[in-house]
Symmetry: C2
Amino acid sequence: MRTDLCDRLGIAHPVVGFSPSEHVVAAISRAGGLGVLGCVRFNDPDELDAVLSWLDEATGGRPYGVDVVMPSHAPADGAPADLDALIPAGHRDFVERTLLRLGVPPALDGESRAGVLGWLHSVARSHVEVALTHPIRLIANALGPPPPDVTDRAHAHGVPVAALAGRADHARSHVSGGVDLVVAQGYEAGGHTGEIGSMVLIPEIVDAVGARVPVLAAGGIGSGRQIAAALALGARGVWLGSIWLGTEEYRSAPALREALLRAGSGDTVRSRIYTGKPARLLRNRWTDAWSEPGAPAPLPMPLQNLLVAQAHTRLMESGDPSVVPMPVGQIVGRMNEVRPVADVLADLVAEADDTLGRLGALTRPGADGSR
Amino acid sequence: MRTDLCDRLGIAHPVVGFSPSEHVVAAISRAGGLGVLGCVRFNDPDELDAVLSWLDEATGGRPYGVDVVMPSHAPADGAPADLDALIPAGHRDFVERTLLRLGVPPALDGESRAGVLGWLHSVARSHVEVALTHPIRLIANALGPPPPDVTDRAHAHGVPVAALAGRADHARSHVSGGVDLVVAQGYEAGGHTGEIGSMVLIPEIVDAVGARVPVLAAGGIGSGRQIAAALALGARGVWLGSIWLGTEEYRSAPALREALLRAGSGDTVRSRIYTGKPARLLRNRWTDAWSEPGAPAPLPMPLQNLLVAQAHTRLMESGDPSVVPMPVGQIVGRMNEVRPVADVLADLVAEADDTLGRLGALTRPGADGSR
């Protein structure tokens, strides 16, 4: 399985793998895909710099990229203390009451957490500046196109820019804003996602941006058959995020791992409780609590994540699989064992190749479509 | 493009087309697909009998099927008058107030409407009995498996039974209940639909039921690329409903036609307001009214449709494209001109064949995935 994306990004397989874990990213790139590091968790640019330096070694010179989060409608910027003052007391009370009711212990270290600030423009810009001092091969923006000057900076360094889109009109405006690749992210996806399913969205975006702009398909893809389906829909490659959560390299806490392995495709929910924008999450007692009568409406980005940042730490530290907070797509139903990244990628490629061969044979009269 | 489904159903192309219109059904079967007539609208079995007699001629001996609606959890059966008494006055008031506010005139003939009774078991059984007196080639049930004795009756007549499923566990139980084909219907679909997107649902159901049971893919499919994608996911054919609403043979009212041609993929909503169970509908001022503050929660099936039956007639008769009530999938974004069924089907098949050929070529090193 090869597409022009392979030549464009210098990779063996048209598989781009997103992960917040540098260990997963390195393993994807070493195995012939393009690993893309999610930067939103780095509140401190120096920490990101150190991780990218590690990646420069760990990828052994294979291409990798970074993913930043710059919302196209910029949320209020400002110091954490100013933002904290915007959070209503009733929301804080609800979070505390809910944690108590769910039996979640206090934070282990007793300290307050800063929450995720990576989606503030000031922080995301620092991510871009740091990343451009490393030999990255792609900058992706998870919430629409980056500001024009950021795209220009990337292009001046010879780095192509990708942006996620959940609607065809967004994809079109990304491209007119200078974006080089579009990630068409369907409803099935984990994290921030729209309402249009991959089956409809992918060809719609492919047609909207035209043949000059490669489209990566995202949302619900975690097998070789699904990669082949994405290519059938006109994508030139795939963007996979959730599937790596089930790998050895992800090094997740045991409670999270148990929750991921146990969950079926129906055990996710699309909700604003994680960041303030609709994102698909593992459904559990914590997410259910936010849809009960009397629960407050989630706050806008970036306040909602500041509100729940410490709660997320406590929920994760609780060791209780029924409350761990985690963005994940409907493909979680296929995560049934923990395997090395290289094995997962090899299987994806082998099954995709088999499927492409099987499909080619269907054009012959009398062919049999059974698997 | 041929799969074993073609031999099994005696059709040239593995495309099953559902429509409430006998004109559409006849045209699909004549063009080499399997037309399937939706029976839920026939409150009078004699009327269905007359339409099927017409189809026997109009299909020119080509295979066709019927679709009945038997909810697996049977709603309260009973005479229309008894059911009417179960509808709260506040709901009736809301419907009247809303129609007034939307500027919808009274019904043209001033008579009250019976509403759709086809999902009462007694009525659906009469559909099956009538259909088995005609040379049908498939009975499909839109809400899970039919009762075992109905499946046995169909099998005794040599007629295979299909059932729609939106979850893998449902598909598995359909098969153990004697169903011969499973329609895997994803979130993108029009009408009754679940929450799992086609990209995830189709391979999950294919794996759940095993190779002996053919799976038809439904939900978001209306182009040849999407058919090829469905085959990549392991389906042996496709089940298309919404796409026929944009054909000449559908003979829709001008307001509905205008609304369908104008709508994009984002202009649908999944709601319980049409039947009491979640169904995807064209989003408009009528559906919006039901999600405003103060709107009542929809009633359970079959009461909700009895509540809105007369309103549906008035909304359709109003001639206002911004209020027409219509179940339709996200593929509505591709309906941009009115064409004959035969042309639509020929294009589907040609594009699917092209796509299958293109995919086969991707397995060769150095191949280019651009369209």
